[in-house]
């Protein structure tokens, strides 16, 4: 299986404390890979490490044939790797149009931008009607849409989503995962970190379980859904199931 | 370790007390030490507000000035003794602090900063312009040093520098002790709660506004005491002693010394008075160098001198467990 996004032996942490240790994974084009795990298992840190936001990261990251190690975020984006962080990343006092324009910040070709914006708006019709509105007036779910839509303007080859469903009402959560599916449908490699295990495993092709900064289990999403351990640990079955504290 | 600190503290105290007796020590050194103590007192007041309460006031010198003028006028015009004028000065500054605090504490950080700066400017304008009361820019001259007192049969004449030095040193120590007591009291814990998270503190039942006004008043009262000592030391209360630059200097002392550290204001005041004095030989370059020293200090000792000292102590004791939380 040829991977679009390939992560090898990545380790990272804050201030000398390792939170992710020696993680390797592959995301093929057109597929969704979901990373699940407890709080503090290092899922979000993994995405930040891949996107080169943490100093002192070790390991190698490749996108297609491009080696991404040591590139600044804007170079990563130019190479085709997009990242939607967990916390809000819209610009609340810019209009939606301006937010989209910022999504295409790295592009210079006006015609190309116009064409891609058109495509994106076709995909997210709800945004078209409100182009002149400030992004801050959108609901949380709509802002999440805008964030994802925005990344499409650079025509990424891979997208990383960090907890896209956090703080969203159930109805919106489904919409977000539908969007992720549509992304994959366009041939994009999608790496998603998520708390909502049930929903994300329903949408993903592959699931990866992280604990204490390492991968402990990787399998197809379908088989993980029926895995006892996963059910017990993450799908809300009863029992005192705390893993050891994340980082003492 | 506690015992080590206490013994060290006592030794330092004894050393400071005996300073005037050390051989042919120049009065200049005593003068500088006295001035440092006089700067340390309002800085301690501001440290309570800024370091422990998170209130960055840029008008502190105004409250030092209220105390200074209150004490000076009571002594010169009403013939009070220093000992009676001192508490009156603290009362005046404290009341003014409570009033100003109640007015401007509703404002958020930067707005609060600028509004306190505005109050500092207004107070300075009043000191400078209300000539009938304050004697205007030339200042209120003829303020006496504290009256001599008899202690165990020996007369302590504060007129003389060594005794005045001991008095201000004792006053600074007293302010330091009050600061330590407040910081460690229940009041101090509530203050610490406010500094960490105002919203949460309020939800936990801390009357945030009232606490802030209280700490503003206390900080101002301590500043007022500093003012009384300052005018008695200089024997003149002039508006130039309480201008905006002076307010900024006190903030500088607190932060350079290490805001939120008990000893920060003392270290800061020492540095602030001593470095420019040491640089007198540099003549016109003096303040150029001093400015550079400040920039470098902030760049390489962001926690201030007290933070630097704490780090050094921790390193000496070996591995430093956890970093002192907070105070960023």
């Amino acid at each position: 299986m040829s991977a679009m996004l390939s992560v090898r032996d990545v380790s990272a942490g804050y201030g000398g404390r390792m939170i992710v240790e020696g993680v390797s994974l592959d995301v093929p084009a057109g597929q969704i890979v979901a990373v699940i795990g407890h709080n503090g298992a290092g899922k979000s840190t993994l995405l930040k490490a891949v996107f080169n936001l943490l100093p002192g990261r070790r390991g190698r990251v490749r996108l297609g044939d491009t080696v991404l190690d040591g590139l600044a975020p804007q170079r990563l984006l130019a190479a085709g790797l997009a990242y939607v962080p967990q916390e809000r990343s819209t610009f609340p006092k810019l209009t939606i149009a301006e937010n989209l324009r910022m999504g295409a910040y790295l592009l210079d070709d006006a015609a190309l931008i116009a064409e891609r914006t058109e495509r994106v708006l076709a995909l997210f019709p709800a945004l078209r009607a409100r182009l002149g509105q400030l992004a801050g007036t959108l609901s949380g779910g709509e802002q999440r849409m805008l964030e994802i839509a925005r990344t499409l303007l650079v025509a990424p080859r891979a997208v990383m989503l960090d907890e896209p469903s956090i703080g969203l009402a159930p109805k919106m959560v489904d919409t977000v995962f539908d969007t992720a599916r549509r992304l994959a449908g366009q041939g994009v490699a999608v790496l998603v970190v998520e708390q909502n295990v049930r929903k994300v495993l329903a949408a993903a092709d592959t699931g990866i379980v992280m604990e204490m900064g390492r991968i402990v289990l990787a399998d197809s999403a379908a088989s993980l859904r029926s895995d006892d351990r996963v059910a017990r640990l993450y799908l809300g079955a009863a029992g005192r199931a705390f893993s050891a504290p994340a980082h003492p | 370790m506690r015992a080590f600190e206490i013994i060290g503290g006592l030794l330092a105290l004894a050393g400071l007390w005996a300073l005037p007796q050390w051989g042919e020590l120049s009065p200049y050194v005593l003068h500088i030490a006295t001035l440092s103590a006089i700067y340390a007192i309002p800085a301690i007041g501001l440290n309570l507000m800024l370091g422990y309460g998170g209130l960055v006031s840029l008008g502190h010198a105004g409250f030092v000035g209220i105390g200074g003028y209150a004490a000076g006028l009571l002594m010169v015009d009403a013939g009070w003794t220093f000992w009676a004028a001192l508490p009156a000065a603290m009362l005046a500054s404290g009341a003014a602090g409570a009033l100003v605090g109640a007015l401007c504490l509703r404002l958020r950080t930067h707005f609060f900063m600028i509004v306190t700066l505005a109050f500092g400017l207004i107070l300075h304008a009043v000191m400078n312009n209300w000539e009938e009361l304050t004697r205007g820019p030339v200042g209120l001259a003829g303020i006496p040093r504290p009256e001599a007192i008899a202690l165990f049969g020996a007369e302590i004449a504060f007129r003389r520098l060594p005794d005045f030095y001991r008095l201000t040193m004792a006053a600074a120590m007293a302010a330091l002790a009050v600061q330590a007591l407040i910081v460690r009291s229940d009041f101090g814990r509530m203050l610490a709660a406010i500094r960490q998270d105002e919203v949460l503190a309020s939800a936990r039942g801390v009357p945030v506004m009232a606490m802030k006004v209280a700490v503003f008043a206390i900080g101002s009262a301590i500043a007022g005491a500093g003012g009384a000592f300052k005018v008695s030391f200089l024997r003149v209360a002039a508006p130039a002693s309480f201008d905006m630059l002076e307010s900024i200097n006190i903030v500088l002392i607190v932060i350079v010394g290490g805001a939120g550290h008990l000893l920060g204001p003392v270290l800061g005041a020492g540095l602030f008075v001593a470095v420019p004095e040491a640089l007198r030989v540099a003549s016109a370059w003096r303040l150029v160098v001093f400015g550079l020293v400040l920039v470098l200090l902030m760049r390489f000792a962001p926690q201030g001198l007290a933070g630097l000292a704490a780090d050094a102590v921790r390193r000496l004791r070996g591995k430093g467990a956890l970093r002192a939380p907070g105070h960023a």
Partner: protein, 391 residues
Amino acid sequence: MTKIVRRAALSVLAVGAALAGFTPIAAAQDRVTIGVLTALSGPLAAPGRFQMNGINLAVEDANAQGGVEIGGRRYQVEIKVYDTRGNPAEGASAMQRLTTVDRVPVVIGELSSGVAAAVAPIAADNEVPFILTVPTGPNLTKANNRWLFRVNAHNDQLSQALADFISRQGWQPLAYIAWNNDAGRGGVQSMSRLLPQGWRIGYTGFFNVGEVDFSAHVTNIRNAGARAVMLFMDEEPGSLAIAQIKAAGLDVQLIGTLAMGSDRFLRRLDAQRLNGMVQYNAFPPNAAVPRIQGFSQRYRAKFNEEAHGFAAQSYDGLMVALAALRAAGSATDARRVREALTRIDHEGVTGRLRFDAEGQASPPVYVTQWCADGRRRILYPADVVADCGAG
């Protein structure tokens, strides 16, 4: 590691060497050091520059004549200059250092009356005489401080002649624009006290040091219908104030102080704008008096500008100090220097200087007026009245 240590050591040495460069290297010959307080920084640094010019010139003159002879030995004269920044506490520390570390026998200088009030008691504590050369607050020498002397005239002395002049001319209503500091407020107080009872004052406006826009005052003066405007400030804001008054087309008599003394001032303005302005002065640089002419020439030769009153006063301050040292016969005994000062009778460039019981000298005060060609005439006192070019 060693590299870092070496680099650190080198930089310490470099800084040390740099600092050492500022302190005079001790030489074989005997030296007497006079303490000087002035403002090298802060808002008073500009007048401080004139003060230092006068003092430096005095040192140069004294040493050119082989130094000063004290008790049968010749001493080279040196000065130790400390900055007070216009801050009372700074001044107090500087005075403490001069008198107890540097152990100078006499201190001269200072600009601000507020600083002087904090500094003078320290001179008294340490029993070192202190000679003021610029501050004009009348109360300074009335504080019963035996160690304080002043060579320059204070506000009441300065204002006396001009007040007479103004009242004779009938210039009322009179307006003031003054610095909101000791010089400005003190000047207004003295002048108002010395003008005849009930003299109409149309407007009094104070401005803070550093302010440069006088339009508000100009508007108010026009509204008050003032016939004359008196400016208590030094030449820098003064030039702006006059320019703004003239630009607004106000037809008023301008009245100034000695702080607006030199042709630096004139260079900022067209002579036309100054035409007719009267001012009190301690040192009319072009007067046909030998001591004045001599000083003016030496000053111009060294600094390439017209001599400033502050410079002349400060020159005299240092010369008076030297005369006292000479008379005391000691380069170290400050008590004897003080004694000598009380009896001093010095012919200075600003006039004959003797101190009264309060330590105040009474140098002559002049009233001068600017002519259309940018020169000055002397209107007062009667014995030196002179026409354009000799003021």
